[in-house]
């Protein structure tokens, strides 16, 4: 059997076996093996890929030809699936209790691999659906309303994609990417082109969680096994991101030619980037207002995906490379965050800030992991998150796009706002007495977190590793990397090792000052909000409850505008309409039914018969 097919189907096979046997121990072993095998093959195939540039395989099935291809681009995305998928399944050993979850979690992983490795639109669509079904089943088990919302939006997205694919197929008579790109470039009309772009935008936007199609994500991410959410947010959302690259690959040139540019970005790209920017802001602000850690990270994940969309939208090689870099670091730090949440829930059974505090002492290892994740997400060197965000800033600014630049900067600021809350409310401060005997992470979760934490640090200190790989996608030196530690854009430089050294020096100096400095003063927990100043407002805000109430009040007007509510209203409206229509059409009166027949006869007569 071909190696590419093994990579794609190994998880599904593992999942089906785990579900069918459903024996504790064997189930977990099969599940983890299902996630580990593709990763092993990806590593093994690397040298072959490096030598030939592309590994392809195609099969005839059901009257269609399906092609699969491993290129430098798809290898990078498949590796994201491999690493995060493995970490997530290892974590599931602790948090998952039945075969059902193993089956569907691994089914969605197979879908994700299939999406990345497919080299034709039909295969892409089929695996996309498979992935959606698997993840939907994972949500359905925990919550009906979250599942329904996710399902409906996903189905809408998938059908939009299908319509676009059908449009293209009618034109090209083939699903294979090269044929599609050709047909679109030479034969597609302006109207159809805009339609196909719009449909793809909806399809990929839903999966990536792009504003205003993001509404499913906060509920779906939080209403499922949090170990699985690491994969959900880390890998599955990347398929949407990958879809945006596909837009460039398949219809990008033609769109550029047909619709031109806005400022220095292609016009269609600017739409993506602007929506991405809104995603950053909306996701970030809403993340700050959450009282539930799962929701906080769900919104934060949405916000961070916005960065990738901004980067892709700008449309230069540098910005797309920066976007892919951020896709990698997003998968790493977001996956890590959700595993941390999984650990916290596993050990405490609590999910809201109000019930937490002072866990750093009790869970030192988890706290260390959280520290890495926080630094990486906040974009503090020397973490992977810093490098990718820095690249995105540089890419946006160098193209002279101030609005997008502003959105990106705002996102970073709001990132600190919500992270400070997570940092303090969960790990420091007073510990509720019922958390006094909390234990640290169990072994599988600890291993899983370590798997994601290490690359977070390594890719920050040695960005050359990643950049070297990403440059191969474009076949040129987009970002030069003189040494492993250094990046050079021509107009900006970054040296991970140097920063690390200075950071350590700085920390040492700070430590010296701390130990020589003023004596420690104890302050009550309620004082932290005002940094020790007397409380002047009527309400008492602690970091654990309504910490950002003033922000919420300031935003009250905007918060009333909810796309979630809009979609619900549309849904309710459709249901009402359906009911009214049914009552009129199938009214149970045989006389009116007979009139329908007469009506159709009349139409037949008028039709020219």
């Amino acid at each position: 059997m071909n190696e590419l097919l093994i990579i794609i189907f190994a998880p599904l096979l593992g999942g089906v076996l785990a579900w069918a046997l459903n024996v504790r121990g064997i189930r977990e072993l099969l599940g983890v093996a299902g996630a580990a095998v593709p990763l092993a093959y990806l590593v093994k195939l690397y040298s072959e890929l490096d030598a030939s540039g592309q590994l392809s395989h195609s099969i005839d099935f059901a009257g269609f030809t399906f092609s699969f291809s491993l290129t430098h681009l798809t290898w990078v995305f498949a590796m994201i699936a491999g690493v995060v998928g493995l970490a997530s399944t290892i974590a599931m050993v602790s948090t998952s209790r039945d075969g059902y979850e193993w089956l569907f979690a691994l089914m969605s992983l197979t879908g994700a691999y299939g999406v990345f490795l497919s080299f034709d639109l039909l295969g892409f669509f089929i695996f996309w659906e498979l992935m959606t079904v698997g993840s939907f089943m994972m949500v359905l088990k925990y919550s009906r309303s979250a599942g329904l919302k996710y399902f409906v939006l996903s189905v809408v997205g998938a059908f939009a994609m299908f319509l676009a694919i059908a449009k293209i197929y009618a034109l090209s008579g083939s699903f294979a990417f090269p044929d599609v790109a050709n047909a679109v470039y030479y034969a597609m009309g302006r109207g159809d082109l805009a339609l196909v772009f719009g449909l793809f935008l909806v399809a990929f936007g839903v999966k990536a969680g792009m504003f205003p199609l993001h509404v499913w994500a906060p509920d779906a991410y939080s209403e499922t096994n949090q170990s699985y959410t690491a994969m959900f947010s880390g890998v599955l959302s990347k398929t949407g991101v990958y879809g945006f690259i596909l837009i460039y690959m398949l219809i990008g040139y033609r769109l550029m030619v047909e619709f031109g540019a806005f400022r220095s970005a292609p016009k269609f790209g600017y739409i993506i980037a602007f929506l991405g920017g809104l995603t950053i802001i909306v996701g970030g602000l809403l993340a700050a207002l959450q009282e539930d850690i799962r929701k906080l990270f769900a919104y934060s994940s949405i916000s961070q995906i916005g960065y990738i969309l901004v980067a892709f939208g700008v449309g230069t090689s540098l910005s797309i490379e920066a976007g892919i870099y951020h896709a990698i670091s997003h998968a790493l730090f977001k996956g890590l965050f959700f595993l941390i949440v999984a650990t916290i829930i596993y050990r405490t059974g609590k999910t809201t800030f109000a019930d937490m505090g002072g866990l750093a002492e009790k869970m030192p290892f988890t706290f260390a992991m959280a520290f890495v994740a926080i630094l990486s997400l906040a974009g503090i060197p020397p973490m992977a998150g810093f490098v990718s965000k820095w690249l995105i800033f540089e890419a946006v600014i160098s193209q002279n796009l101030p609005i997008l630049g502003g959105m990106v900067f705002f996102g970073s600021a709001i990132g600190f706002v919500y992270l400070i809350r997570f940092t303090y409310a969960v790990w420091f401060g007073q510990r509720p007495t019922d958390l006094d005997d909390t234990k640290d992470a169990p072994l599988p979760l600890a291993v899983a977190m370590a798997i994601l934490a290490i690359p977070n640090i390594v890719f920050g200190i040695a960005p050359g590793l990643v950049v070297k790989e990403l440059n191969k996608i474009f076949g040129g030196e987009i970002v030069t990397s003189p040494t492993l530690w250094e990046l050079n854009l021509g107009f900006g430089r970054y040296n991970g090792l140097l920063i690390l050294v200075w950071l350590i020096v700085g920390l040492l100096i700070a430590a010296v000052i701390y130990f020589l400095g003023a004596p420690v003063r104890k302050v009550p927990v309620t004082d932290t909000y005002q940094s020790g100043n007397p409380v002047t407002m009527e309400y008492n805000l602690t970091i654990r409850r309504n910490f950002f109430l003033p922000l919420k009040e300031a935003l009250a007007f905007w918060l009333r505008i909810s796309f979630d509510k809009l979609y619900r209203d549309i849904g309710a409206w459709v249901e009402d309409f359906a009911e009214v229509m049914r009552n009129y059409v199938y009214n149970g009166n045989v006389q009116s039914y007979a009139w329908y027949l007469a009506l159709i006869l009349l139409i037949l007569a008028m039709w020219g018969v």
Binding site: F61, A62, G63, L122, I126, F127, E129, L130, V133, L140, K141, R144, G147, L148, F151, V152, V155, V156, F159, F162, L163, A166, K167, Y169, A170, V574, E575, F577, A578, E579, M581, R582, V585, Y586, G588, V590, S592, Y593, A594, Y596, L597, L599, I600, L601, I603, L604, W607, G608, V609
Partner: protein
């Protein structure tokens, strides 16, 4: 073996139906056993015929009474008919077994007779090569269907049957007028001969005749808005009969539309008629799916869903392309399997729990795990999820639709599919994630049938290649009229 034995497909159920009164005295068990035996025999014959047709690649032309066509009536069992006669026989066999459990209302001897006549009528509609004969078989099907709809003897059943009679009656009278017009213009009733002469008919007569014929058949094929009888009839009929309605009675009507449409493709105004059919089919899908959305009764919900799927088949057949017809035939096969499974299992829940209201499905995953699992498989298949059979035929239909230039139609059908996904989602959620009553023992035979059908769904879903080859041949049989004409020996009277 002589191909003429294929006439047993018609003769066997007809003769057996008349023998039912003789064994009536032996009691209910004997009658039901007799039904199972006859349908098993029919399945064997149909299997032999299908094997014969597909291995030789040639249709079997049965010439009745030695009168050669176009003077006499002939049966034309080509790739399509062979496939569907087999499907009819297999489904009837399964339903005969299901009837043991599901039908307790007396008089079962009448039930058995009507059951066999319904099977006979549908078989005949698909197998015949003569347009008037088609009308006769359609009437046999319809009249036994009217009677079976009312079989449960409830007020609702009588009302549903009454509606069906009124609408079906109007439909078939118009069909007959259409046939008369065409006969007047051509002087022949043989379908192959008609196809030859189609181009030469007076355009007005051809248009009116064809339009009336299609109009008449559209009632049987459940096209909106001529399908108003269907939800009531589906719900009121005994459970096995509902399965037969959905799995093959409506398919026979669809087949007749498809066959006659392509036979007359030479006629004037043909493409206009196709366009009208596409519009009606699209409306059928939308209205049916929306109507299903808030159903409180699972059987009725699935009935609407079945109408929606049938609309999609009609859409495919009306596209006028080879790709569309093949996809439509594929969908017919898949829909027959899936809806047979769904109506069977839902009907079984109705028998076991005393009704098919959605509340009865609460916690079914714990109460009747096998039944719930198979309903789930059927539901997921209907929604069109990959790895289930309908996925393949659905994408083929939609691709063919866009290729034929009906993007708006495809978009609307996809929109309706979202609605379909929602109500099946609710059913699945109700079954697995809502608490219900205690465990119930499931019937072995019905379980075996359900598992067989569910396995078929997944096998075709995972490995559609073989079935696709078969249905492609069946689709060509329907689409390639020149071949059809060539295969019928017309004694040289043709043009």
């Amino acid at each position: 073996m002589n191909g003429q034995y294929a006439s047993l497909l018609i003769a066997l159920p007809l003769i057996s139906a008349f023998f039912v009164p003789l064994i009536k005295e032996l009691g209910r068990k004997a009658v039901m056993g007799y039904l199972v035996m006859i349908t098993a025999l029919q399945t064997a014959i149909a299997g032999w015929v299908a094997n014969e047709v597909y291995s030789t690649g040639k249709p079997i032309i049965v010439i009745a009474g030695g009168w050669k066509p176009p003077v006499g009536i002939n049966l034309y069992i080509g790739h399509f008919a062979a496939l569907f006669v087999l499907i009819i026989a297999v489904i009837s066999f399964f339903m005969a077994i299901f009837s043991f459990r599901a039908v307790n209302v007396e008089p079962v001897d009448k039930y058995a007779m009507l059951f066999l006549l319904l099977m006979l009528g549908a078989t005949g509609m698909i197998a015949t090569g003569d347009i008037f004969n088609l009308f006769v078989f359609m009437e046999i099907t319809a009249i036994s269907a009217y009677a079976l709809t009312a079989y449960n003897k409830t007020g609702e059943a009588a009302e549903a049957s009454m509606k069906y009679i009124v609408l079906g009656g109007i439909g078939s009278s118009f069909f007959l007028i259409g046939v008369a017009l065409i006969y007047g213009a051509t002087g022949t009733l043989n379908m192959a001969h008609l196809a030859q002469l189609a181009g030469a008919i007076d355009p007005t007569v051809a248009q009116v005749g064809l339009a009336l014929i299609i109009f008449g058949l559209a009632v049987e094929a459940e096209l909106f808005p001529l399908n108003a009888w269907a939800p009531d009839a589906y719900q009121a009929a005994p459970h096995p009969i509902t399965v037969m309605f959905s799995a093959f009675v409506v398919k026979a009507g669809l087949y007749a539309i498809g066959r006659l449409l392509y036979l007359f493709q030479g006629a004037e105004g043909w493409s206009g008629l196709l366009r009208l059919l596409v519009i009606l089919a699209t409306l059928t899908v939308i209205v049916a799916e929306l109507s299903a959305l808030r159903q409180k009764d699972a059987k009725r919900m699935i009935a609407y869903s079945s109408i929606g799927q049938v609309g999609m088949i009609a859409f495919a057949l009306a596209l006028g392309t080879q790709a569309g017809v093949s996809a439509g035939v594929f969908h017919m096969v898949n829909h027959a399997i899936v809806k047979a499974l769904l109506f069977l299992t839902v009907g079984y829940v109705g028998v076991a729990l005393g009704g098919t209201a959605i509340e009865n499905f609460q916690g079914l995953g714990k109460r009747m795990p096998l039944t719930a699992l198979t309903i789930t498989i059927g539901s997921l298949a209907t929604v069109g999820i990959p790895l289930f059979n309908i996925f393949w035929s659905k994408i083929r239909i939609l691709l063919a639709g866009v290729e034929a230039g009906y993007s708006w139609s495809v978009a609307l059908i996809l929109g309706a599919s979202v609605v379909e996904a929602v109500y099946y989602f609710r059913l699945v959620h109700t079954m697995w994630f809502v608490e219900g009553g205690g465990r119930i023992r499931e019937n072995f035979a019905i379980g075996v049938i359900a598992i067989f059908l569910a396995a078929l769904i997944i096998v075709i879903g995972v490995y559609p290649n073989d079935v696709w080859t078969i249905v492609q041949k069946a689709g060509q049989d329907l689409f390639n009229v020149a071949n059809y004409i060539k295969n019928v020996p017309l004694m040289g009277v043709g043009a």
